[in-house]
C-alpha cells in the first residue's frame, strides 16, 4: 500500500472537485475491494476521498414510478428493502448470492458496480496482465482460465466481471447517474456502463477520471417471476462460475442476463427473443461468438444447464 492522503468529503460537489484537483485520487466507499487492491499495489491512489457521509444512502421512488438507489446504499440494505424485494426481487436475490454477510454490510451499490475482476493473474503483480499493466501480456489465456469469460473477450484480456448485483441491474435496465468533473450530471444506461476489453482492457467502464456515481435508478416494475441462479464451486461465498438473472413473463416471454461468462453483465436481444424456444436456444443466442479456453469451455454447457434448471422450475411451478 502506497502512502496516501485521505479526506472526508463535505458534499458531493466537494468530492468531485477534490477528485479533479488531485491526480490519481479515488473515492472510497465500503473499501472492500479498493483496500485489498491497494495492499497489493494493484491500485495506488495518492489520495482517497471518503464519500460515505454525503447522504447518498437512501432508496427513494422516482417520478417515473421506479426507484432511485443512492450510490452508498449498502448491499445488505438494498437486498432487504421491502420495495426491492416486492418489485425487483431478482436484485435482492442477486445481492444475497454475493460475497458474505459481513462484506455485504460494507459493500455499496456504487462500489459493487466498480469492483474489479477476480482473474488470479490480475491479483499477482509478478505475473503478466494487460489489465493491470497494459502491454505486459495476458497471463491467464494460456494459463489457469477456468473462472474467466467466454464471450465479449478479446486477444488482450478474457477477464470476467465478478458482480452478481450488476447482472440483476442489467436485467432490470438500470441507469447509472453520475457527476463528472466540473459538476455536470449525466445518466449512463447500465448496458453501456461496463466496457468490453478490446485492446484497452485496463479501462473497465465508461466513467471519466474523477467522475462519481451518485445513484442507480430502476425503471417502473415489470412484474413477472424473478429468479437469480448462481452456480459456483461451493454453496456460498464464492464467485459465480455462471449465473443467470431472469424474469419470466406471460406466454413464454422472458428476459435474461448472465454473470460469470463475460467482461460485463451479459445480455443479448437474441437470448430474450429465444425465450419461448427453451434453454438450449437461449444459451446459444446468449453465447453466439463465444471464445473459450480448454479450462473454461465447460461454461457453455453449464450456462445451458443452468437455464435448463430454471425452465424446469418454471414448468414445475406453472
Amino acid at each position: 500500500m502506497k502512502a496516501f492522503t485521505y479526506e472526508r468529503a463535505r458534499s458531493v460537489e466537494a468530492a468531485v472537485k477534490a477528485a479533479a484537483s488531485v491526480q490519481s485520487a479515488r473515492f472510497i466507499a465500503g473499501g472492500t475491494n479498493l483496500l485489498d487492491l491497494m495492499k497489493l499495489q494493484i491500485e495506488t491512489p495518492a489520495h482517497l476521498i471518503d464519500v460515505n457521509h454525503l447522504g447518498l444512502d437512501k432508496i427513494e421512488p422516482t417520478q417515473e414510478g421506479g426507484l432511485r438507489i443512492g450510490a452508498l446504499v449498502r448491499n445488505t440494505d438494498l437486498a432487504a428493502d421491502q420495495r426491492v424485494r416486492r418489485d425487483y426481487a431478482v436484485l435482492s436475490r442477486a445481492l444475497v448470492a454475493g460475497a458474505s454477510g459481513q462484506l455485504r454490510n460494507k459493500a455499496t451499490t456504487g462500489g459493487n458496480l466498480l469492483q474489479r475482476t477476480r482473474c488470479p493473474y490480475f491479483y499477482d503483480t509478478r505475473m503478466p496482465c494487460n489489465k493491470r499493466r497494459p502491454g505486459s501480456g495476458c497471463g491467464a489465456m494460456q494459463g489457469m482460465s477456468r473462472s474467466l469469460a467466454i464471450v465479449g473477450v478479446s486477444d488482450a484480456c478474457i477477464a470476467q466481471n465478478p458482480s452478481d448485483m450488476a447482472v440483476a441491474l442489467r436485467l432490470l435496465d438500470a441507469q447509472v447517474e453520475t457527476m463528472a468533473q466540473g459538476g455536470a450530471k449525466r445518466t449512463i444506461p447500465l448496458a453501456d456502463f461496463h466496457r468490453l476489453p478490446g485492446d484497452t482492457p485496463q479501462v473497465d467502464n465508461a466513467l471519466q477520471p474523477g467522475e462519481m456515481i451518485l445513484s442507480v435508478t430502476l425503471p417502473k416494475p415489470i412484474g413477472g417471476i424473478h429468479v437469480y441462479r448462481k452456480v459456483r464451486d461451493r454453496a456460498s461465498y464464492a464467485f459465480a462460475l455462471v449465473s443467470v438473472a431472469a424474469v419470466f413473463g406471460q406466454n413464454g416471454q422472458a428476459r435474461f442476463a448472465f454473470g460469470g461468462v463475460a467482461p460485463k453483465p451479459w445480455r443479448t436481444d437474441g437470448a430474450d427473443a429465444a425465450a419461448s424456444q427453451g434453454a438450449k436456444a437461449v444459451a446459444e443466442a446468449a453465447l453466439a461468438g463465444a471464445r473459450t479456453t480448454p479450462h473454461n469451455d465447460f461454461k457453455k454447457a453449464l450456462l445451458r444447464q443452468t437455464l435448463a434448471s430454471l425452465y424446469r422450475q418454471q414448468e414445475a411451478q406453472a
Binding site: M1, K2, A3, K39, L40, Q41, R118, P120, Y121, Y123, D124, R126, M127, G139, Q142, G143, M144, R146, V231, D233, R234, A235, S236, Y237, A238, F239, L241, G278, A279, K280, F298, A301, L302, R304, Q305, T306, A308, S309, Y311, R312, Q313
Partner: protein, 738 residues
C-alpha cells in the same frame, strides 16, 4: 516411565474426569481475544519492528543482482535482510528448500529478503521497492510428465518406499474379479486460520522466538542448526496456535527471518507470512497419481492388492506416502505397495493432516466401492469380508493392538440408515436433486512418541502442569488438565496447564495425531511420580494410598495435597518412553464414513446432505474435543472431495490460486449435520491412557465416502479430485436430458 508392556488397570480407568466432555479450559481466553498469539506479543516485545517478506518472482534460477537502495531509503525502513548479509546459514533437516533463498532460487515465493520498518505499512511498501534482477532457469512443474522419471525414495520415518508380499502378478492374473484404476489428487494448502508468524528478540547471544509452531523441541534444534548457535541459546514460546494441520510442524521463513532481522537492527522484529504468500512460500500437501489393482474372488475376498503412488517434490524432498494404509487395511496374501518420487521445482511438499492416508484413502476407498459393485456386494459387507485382525504384510504374529473396523462399519451403517441405499446408481430423485449414498472405511496409523511433563503442587493444593506440548486448537490444554486431575484426585479447575515453551520438558508435540495420546501419557507419568512423592510425604505405602477430593487417603486417614506440598511446593518431572509395543503390534485407528449427497440434475452442483461416521480410537479422552476434531477432519475430507485444489501453472511454476478468495475450502453452507459415534475401545498396548490418536482419523476416507455417494447419485465415476462441476459435465452430466 517406561511403557513396554500392556497397561493394566490404572487411575485413568476411574473415568471420573478423563472421558468427560469437559469444555475447553482455554475457551474463554480464546473467544475474548485474551489468548495472545505470536504476532500480538506486545506484552513481551512492545517495541517490535515489522518485517515483510519479499518472495521470489520466479520458480527457479539465480539472483543476478539485488538493488536495495530505493527500499533502504523508503520511509521508516530500519534494515533489510538478504542472503548477502545474513551470514552463513545452515539448513534444518526438516526443510527441503532454504528458508532464505539466494543467490540460487529454488521455488516461487521463496523468501529472498526481509524488509524491516517501523510500521507494517512501511515495511510492506518498501518491500515493493526491492529490485531483483533474475536469471531464470527452466524448471519441472508438471507431475504428469515428470512421474515417468520418478525414482524410489529412501525410507521415510522407518517405513520403506516399497513392500511386496507373495506373488501379486500371478494372483491378480488369476482373480475372478479385477479392478485396475488410476486416481489423482491435487496439491492442497493447509489454509489454517492463523498465518505463520513470529516475534523475535535477542538478549546478547540469547534468542527468544514467540512463534506459531506445532513442534517446539524439533524447531529449537532446527533453528540452532540453521543459525549455527547452541540450542541452549534459543527459547521458543508458542502457548496458543491458530491451527496448523502440519503447516507449522517445522521451522518456516517467518521464524528465521524474524531472528535475522532482530539481530540486524538490534531490536525485536515480528514477521507474519502474508496470506497470499503462504501457498507458495511454505509447504503444501503434494499432488498424487495413484494406481490401484484389486484382485478378488466372486465373493469379494481380496487375494491380490497393489497400490502404486507417484508424487513430486524439490530435490532432496520426500514422497506423499499414499499407499501407507494399503499395507494394513485389508486382507490378501499377495500384495504390492510402491512410492515413486519425481523431481519438481514447485514449492516444497510436506505433511498436511494425515499425510499419506488422507489422499491414499481417497483412492483406495473408491477402488473398494468399484470392487463392491463388480462383485454385486454391499460396500459395507465387502469391507467386513476383507477385515483382517493382524498386519497382513507381517502375518498373524503381528496382531493389531486393537481393531474395531467391523464394529464401526456395522454401527455406522445402522446409525446412518445405510440399508435405505439403492445400490443401483442414478435411481433416486428428490425434486431437482439426484440423491446418492456412499461410504468408506476410515484408517489412520497410531503413532506414539516419547513425551515429558513436569507437575507442581503448591501450598494451596493447586496443581500446575508444564510441558512444551502445543495446543493447535485441538483441546490439549483441557485433556492435560483432565489427566492430571484424574491421577491426582483433584478437580479440573484446580489444575493450571502451561504449554508451548521450550523451557518446559520436551513433549511429543502436535502432529501425526500422536499428540493427545503421547502427551497425556507424559502427564500421566509425571502425575504417577507425583503420587509416589505425595504418598511418601504422607507416610502411606503407595499401594495403600488413595487420591481423592484433593486428599491423599489411607483407610480413614487423609491429608490435603497442599499441606503435603508445603510452602515450597513439590515438583516432579517424568516422561513416558515407549518401548517396542508398536513393533510387536500393529497400531492404528479405524472408522466408517457415510455420506448422502444431492447432485443437481441439470447443473451437476453437488451438495452434501448428511455425513455420519463411527470411529474407534481407543479411550476417548474428551468426547467434546474429540468430536470437534473428527467433524473438522470430515469437513476437510469433504473439501478434498469437492473443491480443494492448488492450481499449478506449469509455465511459471507456481500455485495460481494463492489466496482464500481463490483457494476454496468448505464454508458452513457446504456442511450439514455431522453425526459422530465413538465405539467403546481401550487399547492397552498404545499407552497407559489406553487411548489412540483421533485428530486425523476423521479426514481419512471422508472424501471417498462423498465421491462414492456422487457415483451412487449419478452413475458417473470420477477419479480425478476434486469432483467439480466441469468434470461432471465433461463425464456425462446431465444424465437427465434438458
Amino acid at each position: 516411565m517406561k511403557f513396554d508392556t500392556p497397561a493394566g488397570p490404572n487411575p485413568i480407568d476411574r473415568g471420573r474426569v478423563v472421558g468427560i466432555p469437559h469444555d475447553r479450559i482455554d475457551g474463554a481466553a480464546k473467544v475474548t481475544g485474551t489468548a495472545p498469539y505470536a504476532y500480538e506479543r506486545h506484552d513481551v516485545a512492545p517495541n517490535a519492528a515489522y518485517g515483510w517478506i519479499v518472495g521470489s518472482a520466479i520458480a527457479k534460477g539465480q539472483i543476478r543482482s539485488m538493488d536495495l537502495r530505493t527500499a533502504e531509503a523508503a520511509p521508516g525502513v530500519l534494515g533489510i535482510v538478504t542472503h548477502a548479509n545474513a551470514g552463513a546459514l545452515g539448513k534444518g533437516q526438516f526443510n527441503t528448500a532454504h528458508l532464505l533463498g539466494g543467490p540460487a532460487i529454488q521455488h516461487y515465493e521463496q523468501a529472498l529478503a526481509l524488509v524491516i520498518a517501523d510500521t507494517l505499512e512501511n515495511a510492506r511498501d518498501a518491500a515493493k521497492l526491492v529490485r531483483i534482477d533474475y536469471a531464470p532457469e527452466q524448471g519441472r512443474f508438471d507431475l504428469k510428465a515428470e512421474r515417468l522419471h520418478g525414482t524410489m525414495p529412501p525410507a521415510s520415518f522407518g517405513s520403506p518406499a516399497d513392500t511386496r508380499v507373495g506373488d501379486f502378478d500371478g494372483a491378480f492374473a488369476r482373480a475372478a474379479v479385477k479392478i485396475d484404476q488410476s486416481y489423482s489428487t491435487p496439491d492442497h494448502s493447509h489454509a489454517m486460520m492463523e498465518p505463520h508468524a513470529t516475534t523475535a528478540a535477542w538478549n546478547g547471544d540469547k534468542l527468544t522466538l514467540w512463534t506459531a509452531n506445532q513442534m517446539i523441541a524439533w524447531s529449537v534444534g532446527e533453528m540452532a542448526k540453521t543459525l549455527g548457535i547452541p540450542k541452549e541459546n534459543i527459547r521458543l514460546v508458542a502457548p496458543y496456535i491458530g491451527g496448523g494441520f502440519g503447516a507449522k510442524l517445522f521451522l518456516r521463513a517467518d521464524a528465521l527471518l524474524a531472528a535475522l532481522g532482530a539481530k540486524q537492527i538490534g531490536r525485536p522484529v515480528k514477521v507474519a507470512i502474508a496470506r497470499p504468500q503462504i501457498p507458495n512460500n511454505t509447504t503444501h500437501r503434494p499432488a498424487t497419481i495413484q494406481r490401484i489393482r484389486l484382485g478378488a474372488g466372486k465373493d469379494g475376498v481380496i487375494d491380490a492388492i497393489a497400490h502404486e503412488v507417484w508424487s513430486g517434490d524439490l530435490p532432496g524432498g520426500g514422497p506423499e506416502t499414499a499407499a501407507q494404509q494399503t499395507r494394513l487395511l485389508y486382507r490378501g496374501a499377495n500384495r504390492i505397495t510402491a512410492h515413486r518420487l519425481a523431481v519438481l521445482d514447485l514449492p516444497e511438499g510436506n505433511a498436511m493432516r494425515a499425510p499419506g492416508e488422507a489422499v491414499g484413502m481417497l483412492a483406495l476407498e473408491v477402488a473398494m466401492d468399484e470392487l463392491a459393485e463388480a462383485c454385486g456386494l454391499d460396500p459395507v459387507e465387502l469391507r467386513i469380508r476383507n477385515d483382517v485382525q493382524f498386519d497382513p504384510e507381517a502375518g498373524p504374529q503381528r496382531p493389531f493392538s486393537s481393531r474395531k473396523l467391523v464394529e464401526c462399519l456395522r454401527a455406522g451403517a445402522q446409525q446412518f440408515g445405510w440399508t435405505k441405499r439403492n445400490p443401483k446408481p442414478g435411481q433416486v430423485r428428490d425434486g431437482r436433486w439426484l440423491v446418492g449414498m456412499g461410504m468408506a472405511a476410515a484408517f489412520r496409523n497410531n503413532i506414539t512418541t516419547d513425551s515429558g511433563a513436569r507437575i507442581g503442587i503448591d501450598g494451596q493444593g493447586r496443581v500446575t502442569v508444564e510441558t512444551d506440548m502445543t495446543d493447535i486448537g485441538t483441546g490439549t490444554y483441557t485433556i492435560m488438565a483432565q489427566t492430571a486431575a484424574e491421577v491426582l484426585g483433584v478437580e479440573v479447575d484446580a489444575v493450571t496447564v502451561r504449554l508451548g515453551d521450550s523451557r518446559f520438558p520436551a513433549s511429543a508435540g502436535s502432529g501425526g495425531q500422536w499428540g493427545a495420546n503421547s502427551s497425556t501419557a507424559g502427564v500421566y507419568a509425571a502425575a504417577m511420580a507425583m503420587r509416589a512423592k505425595l504418598a511418601d510425604k504422607a507416610g502411606y505405602p503407595i499401594d495403600d494410598a488413595r487420591f481423592e477430593d484433593g486428599l491423599v487417603k489411607m483407610g480413614n486417614q487423609s491429608q490435603p495435597l497442599g499441606a503435603l506440598a508445603g510452602r515450597d511446593g513439590l515438583w516432579v518431572e517424568d516422561r513416558i518412553e515407549f518401548g517396542d509395543l508398536a513393533k510387536r503390534y500393529a497400531q492404528a485407528t479405524f472408522g466408517a464414513h457415510f455420506c448422502e449427497v444431492g447432485v443437481d440434475i441439470d447443473t451437476a452442483e453437488v451438495r452434501i446432505r448428511r455425513m455420519g461416521g463411527a470411529f474407534a480410537a481407543g479411550r476417548i479422552l474428551n468426547p467434546k474435543s474429540a468430536r470437534n476434531q473428527v467433524i473438522g477432519a470430515m469437513t476437510m475430507g469433504a473439501g478434498a472431495a469437492l473443491m480443494e485444489a492448488l492450481d499449478v501453472d506449469t509455465r511459471f511454476g507456481f500455485f495460481v490460486n494463492h489466496d482464500m478468495a481463490e483457494y476454496l475450502v468448505p464454508v458452513h453452507a457446504d456442511i450439514p449435520e455431522q453425526d459422530v459415534l465413538f465405539i467403546e475401545e481401550l487399547d492397552d498396548k498404545s499407552s497407559p491412557m489406553k487411548a489412540k490418536g483421533v485428530g486425523e482419523l476423521g479426514i481419512c476416507g471422508a472424501g471417498a465416502a462423498v465421491a462414492n455417494a456422487v457415483y451412487n447419485a449419478t452413475g458417473i465415476r470420477l477419479r480425478d479430485y476434486p469432483l467439480t462441476i466441469d468434470k461432471l459435465l465433461h463425464a456425462g452430466m446431465p444424465v437427465v436430458a434438458a
